[in-house]
């Protein structure tokens, strides 16, 4: 039998002005999965740039990811291993048309168990760079209690929106 409603908005923010970073902290371990929806743009005068997703403030070389990207003409796949940059998003910069943002939906499945490394699955819609999917790994058995987003080369642009949901299974 169904155990009841669950897809709980934990917190959301819309940046009123450019910000160096944004952090969801003190994330409860009471859910099964987290879903982070990002509508993001950065302030750098570039077509696209990285936005890094750091978990529990871990800046060690404990992240890796495999990606699949289509840019309108070519499909590519690549990988980052043992990186300290965190899980990363590739979002539009200030060279993109105004009001253009990249949308990412990032799944942190079983984020609070203390037995397995944490797997991250995401999809990206980037009107400047195409469509992408990523599978990432954070080599830690710790529960995810904080998520920080930052752009190392510029700032998160005003109007960027980040919403974190928790899903609890029966």
């Amino acid at each position: 039998m169904p155990a009841g409603s669950t897809y709980t908005p934990i917190a959301t923010t819309t940046l009123g002005s450019a910000a160096a970073s944004y952090t969801f902290s003190s994330i409860s371990g009471s859910y099964t999965d987290l879903v982070l929806v990002c509508t993001t743009r950065v302030t750098g005068a570039v077509d696209n740039d990285d936005v890094l997703v750091t978990l529990n403030s871990d800046t060690g070389s404990n992240y890796s990811a495999t990606y699949l990207n289509g840019n309108g003409s070519t499909a590519t796949s690549g990988r980052n291993t043992s990186t300290s940059k965190g899980y990363w998003l590739y979002v539009v910069g200030n060279n993109a048309g105004s009001s253009t943002y990249t949308v990412d939906v990032i799944n942190f499945n079983n984020y609070s168990n203390s037995t397995t490394y944490k797997t991250i699955i995401s999809r990206t819609a980037n009107s400047s760079n195409g469509a992408a999917a990523r599978a990432g790994l954070w080599r830690s058995t710790a529960a995810i209690t904080s998520i920080t987003l930052n752009c190392p080369n510029s700032n998160l642009a005003a109007g960027s929106t980040f919403t974190l949901y928790g899903i609890a299974s029966a």
Partner: protein, 194 residues
């Protein structure tokens, strides 16, 4: 309840303790969860699925005992093991992008996840949507995103599947294409109201 913090110039809005906004929505419900125990499991199933939702979603983490290559999932419905399934996929393995399809298959082929030769404690992740699963006028379509990374190997895969049946989905089974799920593999089934 969780707290939120902003480091600069954000207009933050929280839920629960921060406002009167109800913490839970009413359209997404947990139906059941299966977590594999210490002995492993050759498959997992959800049965007696009610038809009271519009869509179903399975979310999970997966690893199996395969000692050679990463493995994939086989999805079947209502114990139908005949050739009523078809699927397409787009896959990236870190260097090569490939796409393939199969018609008249005996399952829907999904995702990639690690086995015994991959980094310990690394599991694959998956989200499967079964759209209009209770509609008795249409064949059933699935879509999923899944994959894994084990710091040196990995894959990410987009899948679509079709079950040529107008029956409502009342049960589903997920089986590793090879070997068995390991302990801590976990699958949760949710219903989404229309």
């Amino acid at each position: 309840m969780p707290l939120i913090s902003t480091l600069s110039n954000a207009s933050a809005r929280g839920y629960g303790m921060f406002s009167g906004t109800p913490a839970a929505t009413n359209s997404y419900e947990s139906i059941a969860t299966v977590t594999v125990g210490a002995g492993g499991s050759s498959s997992i199933s959800f049965s007696s699925i009610p038809s009271t939702y519009k869509h179903l979603q399975v979310r999970g983490i997966i690893r199996d005992t395969r000692a050679t290559n990463p493995d994939s999932l086989l999805l079947t419905f209502n114990s139908d093991s005949s050739t009523n399934y078809s699927y397409h996929y787009l896959n990236g393995d870190g260097s090569i992008v490939d796409a393939a399809a199969a018609a008249s298959a005996t399952y829907i082929f999904l995702s990639r996840f690690p086995g015994a030769n991959q980094t310990a404690n690394a599991f694959g992740g998956i989200v499967i949507d079964m759209l209009e699963y209770a509609n008795t006028n249409t064949y059933k379509t699935t879509r999923s995103i899944g994959g894994y990374d084990s710091n040196g190997a990995g894959a990410v895969k987009l899948d679509s599947g079709n079950w040529r049946s107008t029956s409502a989905i009342t049960s589903l089974t997920l089986t590793p294409a090879n070997t068995s799920f390991v302990q801590y593999s976990s699958f949760a089934l949710y219903g989404i109201k229309g």
